[in-house]
């Protein structure tokens, strides 16, 4: 399994577990894609970011429509959320923290210790986002009824590249970490 496959598998498992445990719903898996450079299309809705740091560094992101964010909040907090307010944004931030946090834990076995920042949530229309540095994002789409949720992660090695898993000399590693496309 290469790094990209591991990221996709971790995001799928983590999102499914978080939705099932915290919201009591099963979400459908959608397409996987790779996004490079700065997306030409502007964003509408809610985007949440969380920083990942360590021997590998990057950003995790979650994006969805305001309607889906309200539905997530309603299920998670067991209350009626009909418009995007602080509670809805807080819920999306926490969802990002849990999904990317669990992905981080899975990746640490292979990439060494990683840290997480506090999430940041953006809500608006016609805005663009850009991550300085690595611009290759692994994008995993999920679907809940008629709405889409995108979970993205970009990671690249820093100066302090460390292999997380210890191996006996001569033992082959299950993870082929490729840093070049």
């Amino acid at each position: 399994m290469n790094l990209e496959e591991l990221i996709v598998s971790s995001i799928r498992d983590s999102a499914a577990q978080v939705f099932s445990t915290m919201l009591g719903v099963e979400i459908d898996r959608g397409e996987v894609s790779v996004e490079t450079g700065t997306p030409e299309q502007a964003n509408d809705g809610i985007v949440s970011f969380i920083g990942v740091a360590g021997a590998w560094a990057g950003t995790g992101s979650l994006s969805c429509s305001p309607a889906l964010a309200c539905r997530i909040c309603s299920h998670m907090l067991m209350m009626d959320a009909s418009s995007v307010d602080e509670e809805v944004l807080d819920t999306v931030a926490e969802l990002t923290n849990m999904i990317i946090g669990n992905v981080k834990t899975e990746l640490e076995q292979y990439l060494g210790p990683l840290g997480l920042s506090i999430p940041t949530v953006i809500f608006g229309r016609n805005f663009r986002t850009k991550s300085v540095g690595n611009n290759k994002w692994t994008v995993v789409c999920f679907q809940w009824k008629d709405e889409h949720l995108l979970v993205k992660l970009c990671l690249s090695p820093t100066d302090r590249v460390a292999h997380g898993a210890g191996h006996v000399v001569g033992q082959s590693c299950a993870l082929d970490v490729r840093t070049e496309s």
Partner: protein, 129 residues
């Protein structure tokens, strides 16, 4: 004997969920106090009687590990059990919390059963007979 629990998390959503989940466990809980970070938690500890602290690790201003260290350095709060609740499943932060004296930890996402399982025994030991 009823317990008084302090929930510490920078996410208001998680504090709300924990309020609900703790009530769902059926444990004898009198009060659930809330704090948004370690500093707020210390202020609550100064003003209120607390049986157990349930704290996130990653928080602004003063994180859960700093709160734990401050409590274990205080003669007044040293005996209050602290359970970490976190997405940090990796060895580093959890090991650090255990070294600092955490009574246990719960991974996010969590169920009411997992919270009950972790807290029941700890509360039994913490409450005076």
């Amino acid at each position: 004997m009823e317990s008084d629990i302090l929930v510490v998390d920078d996410s208001a959503a998680i504090r709300k969920i924990l309020q609900r989940v703790l009530r769902q466990t059926g444990m004898a809980i009198r009060t659930i106090h809330e704090a948004g970070d370690g500093q707020e938690a210390l202020a609550v500890l100064k003003a209120q009687k607390v049986t157990l602290v349930l704290s996130d690790i990653n928080m602004p201003t003063m994180d859960g590990l700093q709160l734990l260290a401050a409590m274990k350095n205080s003669a007044e709060w040293r005996q209050i059990p602290v359970v970490m609740i976190t997405t940090e499943g990796g060895e580093t932060k959890v090991s650090e919390a255990v070294k600092l004296g955490a009574a246990g930890y719960v991974r996010k996402p969590f169920t009411a059963d997992q919270i009950k399982e972790k807290l029941a025994g700890i509360l039994e030991l913490a409450l005076p007979i």
